[in-house]
Structure formats: C-alpha cells, structure tokens
C-alpha cells in the first residue's frame, strides 16, 4: 500500500460522522436514508461522506443501493499505525542490547589493561 493510499484512508477516517457511518455499517448493510437518520445533516451531505468512504475503499455499494462496510483495508491500516510504535519498541530493545554490549567491550579492555 502506498503512502497516497494510506493518506486517503486516514483522511476518510478523520471525520467523526464518517467514523459513525462505518460503525453503523459494521452492524449491517444500510441505505443512505438509514445512514442519515442519526444525523442532523442533509442527505446530500451524507452522500458526500459516503463518496469519500467509498473512494478510500472502506465501503462499497451493492446493486440494490445498500451500502456495506469493506474490511479489506482494516488490517493494513491497523498495521500502519502500529508501525511507529513497533519501531520504537524495536529500537528500545536494540539500544538495551547496545548498552550491554558497550559495557562489555569496555570492561574487556579494562580487564586487559589491568
């Protein structure tokens, strides 16, 4: 997945209305009207949100004009955000080993000198 793709997905998820739409679709397929119900914004506004989510590959529309969630992007998305934390942990562990290594080699040369 390219960074452009990831950016599109993150931008789609950055809006609370869109996240709420996704949560609703996780419970089952829905029409535009059903999705619009909990919100005080217009149907066209909801449709615009749906277009953004569709463009990001997070939802798809069936032939009967029902919207459904697409789980295809969820795993790489989760992985991407976990990446920085994993990387930080990776280096913390590396540096702990480097620390021990540096102590060892300095101790070794001290022992040789004494």
């Amino acid at each position: 997945m390219t960074t452009d793709r990831l950016s599109t997905i993150f931008a789609a998820l950055a809006d609370p209305t869109r996240r709420a739409i996704l949560a609703r679709l996780a419970e089952g397929d829905a029409t535009v009207s059903e999705l619009a119900e909990p919100f005080s914004i217009s149907l066209p506004a909801i449709s615009r949100h749906l277009k953004v989510l569709e463009h990001a590959g997070l939802i798809t529309r069936s032939r009967s004009a029902q919207w459904r969630s697409s789980s295809l992007q969820a795993e790489p998305l989760r992985e991407a955000t976990a990446w920085m934390e994993r990387y930080r942990r990776f280096w913390d562990e590396n540096f702990a080993r480097l620390d021990a290594h540096l102590h060892r080699i300095q101790q070794r040369s001290e022992d040789q000198q004494s």
Binding site: M1, T2, T3, L6, S7, F10, A11, L13, A14, R19, L22, A23, A26, L58, S69, S71, Q73, A74, E75, P76, L77, R78, E79, A80, T81, A82, W83, M84, E85, Y87, R88, R89, F90, W91, D92, E93, N94, F95, R97, L98, D99, A100, H101, L102, H103, I105, Q106
Partner: protein, 149 residues
C-alpha cells in the same frame, strides 16, 4: 505542537562517541548486539561499507524459529565518522509501506562524563500516521478495526 512526521528516539550511552559509532559500522560488533529480544544477527549475513553510496546489510534471525528472518538493506546517503550516519532503506519487504523509501538518521553527540547522546530519527511517515501514533490512536484503531472488520 510540531508537525513532525518522524520518529525520534534519544538515548544516552555510557561510552565515548567513537565506540558507539563503531558499534554501528563494525560488522563483528553489529552481529554481537543488533536485534530485538529473541533475534540474532549471524555474522555471515553482515556486510557494511560505511561510505556515502555504501550499504549496510544484515539479516535478523529468530532464535526460536530460524526460518523466520528479517533482512535489513540500507544505503548510506551521509556519513561523518563518529558523528553521523544517514541511511535509506527500501521497504519493499514491509507490505504496509511498499515502495516508500524510509530514511534513518543516527547522530552521535558528546555528553559529559565521557558519554554519548545518540539521536535516531526515522521517517518520513505519512502525517496521519504520526498524528495517530502520537495520540495513541492505535488502541482506538483496534476498537475501530473490530467495528469495521
């Protein structure tokens, strides 16, 4: 709050700068210390040419399951002996970042008492990832993941 899209890790080591630097460019030493818990680097996988345009290659091997390997293949773009190492890594082995070039910068600074401050900077990450990681979105994401998936 700054708009950084980089991961920055700072660590102080109880050793002079030259020693810390050498641990990164000496193949024998890299094989001795590099790797997270549970992984080792076989000496025969290590190949380091610490010059601009040179490379740093090695493979991390899982202690528990030696078929689980993780290769590192970086090219040096900046090298100042005992001061700075900047490498670029092709991330095609990592699906989530396929094709993106990650750059890693390691600075070695003097600290009082014959110690060294090492500053590691890695990136760039897409800004949204950095923001989410900073705000601890990973746990929220796991919840969202359950909702979506």
């Amino acid at each position: 709050m700054s708009d950084t899209t980089e991961l920055v890790i700072t660590r102080i080591f109880d050793a002079p700068r030259e020693l810390v630097y050498r641990a990164f460019v000496d193949p024998d030493q890299l094989a001795e210390w590099f790797g997270p818990v549970g992984y080792s680097v076989p000496r025969d996988t290590v190949d380091v040419d610490a010059r601009v345009g040179g490379h740093q290659r090695f493979t991390m091997v899982s202690d528990e399951d030696p078929t689980q390997t993780s290769p590192v293949n970086a090219t040096f773009v900046e090298v100042v002996e005992n001061e700075l190492l900047v490498g670029e890594e092709d991330t095609s082995a990592i699906p989530e970042f396929a094709g993106v070039t990650m750059r890693m910068r390691i600075e070695f600074h003097d600290e009082p008492g014959g110690r060294t401050r090492l500053v590691l900077t890695q990136g760039p990450y897409p800004p949204e990832i950095a923001e989410m990681a900073r705000e601890g979105w990973t746990s929220s994401f796991t919840k969202l993941d359950k909702l979506i998936g």
